[in-house]
């Protein structure tokens, strides 16, 4: 597929939140290639808003060499956990962003791989943040579409590239 032109050549950057990220209890070297299944860590990890945000904040944007947190695509207050229900809202960098579905899929894939299966996800786009918000949201919440997408190697390759940095969990000191 032809690589689209940048949808937002000069995105506004945000300073990462000053709230201290929660490091994993176990000492662990985060491989850049973050395919590890973290659900085996469940026992010593509380799954709350902070944990969900930590899982997502360092995902790299598909267009810019920046994290979703730096681009303010996602913030701590856009995550809600109620029992087994996880609500995540994200904000594409501009209303015409053609990568919104890729960003959304990266978020969904990251959570599917990281969370114990009992969690059910609701993904939304910030109201008014995108011209095709309803369409993107419907795709991301359709588990059949998501599971089919996860079987497409070419797509997963770009998703995995976005997720390669996710294990940093907000830590920017390499």
């Amino acid at each position: 597929m032809e690589q689209p032109q940048s949808f937002n050549a000069n995105p506004r950057l945000f300073t990462p939140a000053s709230d201290s990220y929660r490091k994993k209890q176990k000492s662990r070297l985060w491989a850049l290639d973050d395919h590890s299944d973290e659900s085996d860590d469940e026992e010593d990890t509380v799954i709350d808003e902070q944990e969900i945000f930590d899982l997502l904040r360092s995902i790299t944007d598909p267009e810019h060499p920046r994290t979703l947190e730096e681009l303010n695509v996602i913030s701590r207050k856009q995550v809600r956990v109620r029992g087994n229900i996880v609500d995540v809202e994200f904000t594409p960098t501009n209303p015409g962003c053609g990568m919104a579905h890729v960003i959304g899929l990266a978020i969904v894939v990251r959570l599917i791989r990281s969370l114990p299966p009992r969690f059910k996800l609701n993904i939304s786009l910030t109201q008014g943040s995108h011209q095709s918000a309803a369409q993107v949201m419907k795709q991301l919440n359709d588990k059949e579409r998501v599971s089919a997408a996860m079987e497409v190697d070419a797509l997963m390759e770009s998703i995995n590239t976005c997720l390669a940095t996710a294990g940093r969990r907000g830590s920017y000191s390499e």
Binding site: P117, D142, E151
Partner: protein, 394 residues
Amino acid sequence: MDVQDLEMTDASQTAEKRLPFVLEKVAELTGHTERAWHVAWNPSPSHPLLASCSSDKTVRLYAYTGTPSSDLPPTFTFATSIPTGHTRTVRAIAWSPSGTSLATASFDSTIGVWERAHGEEDEDEGQESGAAGAGEWECVSTLEGHENECKSVAYSAEGNLLATSGRDKSVWIWEVQPDAEFECITVQMEHSQDVKCVAWHPTEEILASGSYDDTINIYADDPADDWYPLTSLKGHTSTVWCLSFSPCGTYLASGSDDRTIRIWMRAIDRSAGVVVGVGGKERWEPVGLIPNAGERTVYSISWGAGKGGLGWLACTGGDGWIRVWEITHPDLTKPTIATPIAAIPSAHGDADVNVIAWCPRKGFEDVLATAGDDGVASVWKVVPVESSTTSMSL
């Protein structure tokens, strides 16, 4: 009749009410290594089999034995696993009415048709090759044509037609010919998005399809021409995931991501007792709405004969519940009535439940099967509260 009226009359609140039946788990069939998407009961009494399919690309067959109309539940034994050779998820399966062929719909864009390998087909099942269905199953045909993921497959009542649907927005109808030959007789492109499901009328050659575009289409064959869309049913506010005709064929139920079930009725001239407008203008009208059929997406419904009224409608979905209603329609000028008769939460633990299906065999009207994201296929029996083991222990 507007939506408000429909909502008022339906008894939909399953919660907290003492229901007359309970769902007892009869079997828990494990073995799939990934999400189980679908189950299908072999409709033929001479092939007592339950099939399940999964993202692990296999189909598993279970043989069961049981006495029709018995209080004792049927018992299940693993018969065989078909590796299928599909390169992606096997999303849906369907048995031919004769019970000899099994069709598989895969995300790899193909439909497979499977039959038990020759030489092992013995009418005296259980004599030589172990349980029914055991042994080799071979792919006798591969149907190509869909552009991408196939999502649903269904045989017509007579078994002479096979319908398939997929993400390419199309519905295909294939003619089943001798020697496992299939010929595509029509491609219907009435939907603007993925077609999630197809369902045949229980006796006539009428097909329904439900879509990600939130609508339902009904198709019929014009003997002088091609298949054509009879009507389009609108009302759901999100993806239509599942469809099931009533056993009598007069009603169609639809389940949706909007968390409702809608019931549609074939318009009948009440004085004459005949279908209105056959041959082009047949109408299906909204006659019922179950507003809170689930707390999350309704992935599957099944309308079985049950033991009363117009039959029992079972539903399941992303909230993990199984809910069963008895459907009645005592006054045709008013909406249908859905009376909750049984319900159980967490049917597959924390997992989504993707499919529910009543056993189509006579004497097993109270038996249903489900499958979920936990990779398990479960079998349930609907038991009156007074005779259930749970109530005896109270």
